[in-house]
């Protein structure tokens, strides 16, 4: 059995340190944007969150593919946790994006940012992941269907990006581009550190959640072994595998 707890503490410390450094850089080092002023600094949260969440979705798809290959339930649980965390990060992306848009352009929503627009579509798709799981009883089938969804949706992420980018006749402020191709050097440094921090946060949370689920499963298995099948109360109907 994999021990997800291993290295968790070191990882957690690294995460805290990186995020602290990133915050310090954002507030004290990064230059104030000429047009947008202070509110532009939300960019250092928004875009790393978006990149991490998108990678999380694709990561979930890869884990789902592993489940389909091996048929081992743990791959499905990993995929579930990866996608659920990415969903949580995704909520953050939409919220920070909306705040940024309101502050900069006076609207809560702008279509001209391809990150935000594709992200909305991806979120609308992945928002159906949980309901889909939830409406299948059989555990095997639940894992299988959720994994199929994860694979298909994971492949969807880049394709969707291409289509949305192509639909944007013009791209609004160039600051928004993901690659940061034309960011000033100092901005790029801060951006990279922020991205690292958020990515580390994702990995830490993923490992933490897996460790928790793993422990819960082992406890249940032990109870079953010690007290017999019927002693373990039936799980309440839940979409969350454990």
């Amino acid at each position: 059995m994999t021990t997800y707890g291993r290295g968790l503490r070191g990882l957690a410390i690294a995460t805290v340190v990186t995020i602290t450094v990133a915050l310090a850089l954002v507030f004290f080092y990064a230059p104030l944007d000429a047009d947008q002023g202070f509110v532009q600094k939300i960019f250092y949260l928004h875009v790393p969150l978006a990149i991490t969440a998108l990678c999380g979705f694709v990561f979930g798809g890869a884990l789902g593919a592993m489940y389909l290959r091996t048929g081992e339930a743990r791959w499905d649980i990993r995929s579930y946790v990866a996608i659920h965390l990415a969903l949580i990060f995704g909520v953050g992306v939409l919220l920070t994006g909306a705040i940024w848009a309101k502050a900069s352009w006076g609207h809560w929503w702008i279509w001209s940012d391809p990150t935000l627009t594709s992200f909305l579509i991806v979120m609308l798709l992945f928002a159906t992941y949980q309901p889909l799981r939830f409406s299948i009883e059989d555990r095997d089938r639940q894992s299988r269907y959720a994994s199929v969804f994860a694979v298909v949706a994971g492949a969807f992420v880049p394709l969707n990006f291409i289509a949305v980018r192509a639909a944007q006749a013009y791209v609004h402020p160039r600051v928004l581009t993901l690659a940061g191709g034309n960011l000033p050097g100092s901005m790029r440094l801060v951006f990279v550190v922020s991205l690292l921090g958020i990515a580390l946060l994702y990995v830490t949370l993923w490992k933490y959640e897996m460790a928790a689920k793993n422990t819960r499963m082992q406890v249940r298995a032990l109870r079953r072994a010690l007290l017999g099948d019927d002693a373990v109360s039936s799980l309440k109907r839940s979409a969350a595998p454990s």
Binding site: S135, V152, V164
Partner: protein, 232 residues
């Protein structure tokens, strides 16, 4: 020990297709319903938009949305009916390649969509479209055909997922719509210039390429995962 009598993938797909068309003829046919639906939607848009004729991107958007919702009627029906009719498990018992079901359903959907568009597109030209359809037809047909493949493939994939869930009639649409979005964007944007008053009549290559890419990727993906959906 494999029984040699059992038919291959294509013969199985034909058997399923045949059965689906029979079922179609029994109930009210799906295709007339889709057509009627599209026509009513055109009328709604006519009054809703408060305009007698539309063209360009607006026309493309309205046409795409209408065809999409009409298609959804057919997509739902092919799988939900299969389940509701009570014979589905018998297919799982048979010694056949289950991918045949995907192929058959996608083919049936393609047929439905082709017939739908055969009527709905000229009707659109008559009822709503400003510029004459004539010279624009080849470009439009190309874009719509590529879009139909996306609809058929993704519709089949999503329905196959939805059919084993409790809320089949909801899961299908809500998973399918976002998945279809890139294809729909491409159809609408591809058809926009075609339907413009001073359009060239040819769809922009960029969108045709994206659509084709989308079709190929999802067809392969569906083929790869379909077996998992019909297990157990």
């Amino acid at each position: 020990m494999r029984d040699e009598r059992a038919p291959g993938m294509w013969r199985t797909a034909l058997a399923v297709l045949r059965k689906d068309l029979l079922l179609e003829l029994r109930g009210l046919e799906t295709v007339p319903a889709m057509i009627l639906f599209a026509l009513v939607t055109f009328v709604i848009f006519h009054f809703g938009l408060g305009r007698d004729t539309i063209d360009g991107q607006l026309a493309a958007g309205v046409l795409t949305a209408t065809l999409l919702f009409a298609a959804m009627l057919g997509i739902n029906r092919l799988f939900v009916a299969e389940r509701e009719q009570g014979g589905f498990d018998a297919f799982l018992l048979a010694p056949v390649d289950r991918t045949a079901l995907l192929v058959a359903k996608a083919l049936a959907l393609l047929v439905f969509l082709a017939v739908l568009e055969l009527i709905a597109v000229p009707a659109f030209g008559l009822l709503l479209l400003g510029p004459p359809l004539g010279s624009r037809l080849p470009g439009l047909v190309a874009v719509l055909a590529l879009g139909d493949v996306a609809l058929a493939v993704i519709g089949t994939l999503v329905s196959a997922i939805a059919v084993h869930t409790r809320a089949r009639d909801l899961i299908g649409p809500i998973v399918g719509l976002p998945l279809l979005l890139p294809a729909l964007i491409a159809v609408a944007r591809g058809a926009g210039p075609v339907l413009a008053v001073h359009g060239s009549g040819a769809p922009p290559g960029r969108w045709v390429a994206i659509l084709a890419l989308y079709d190929v990727v999802f067809a392969l993906l569906s083929y790869a995962v379909f077996d998992f959906l019909l297990e157990d």
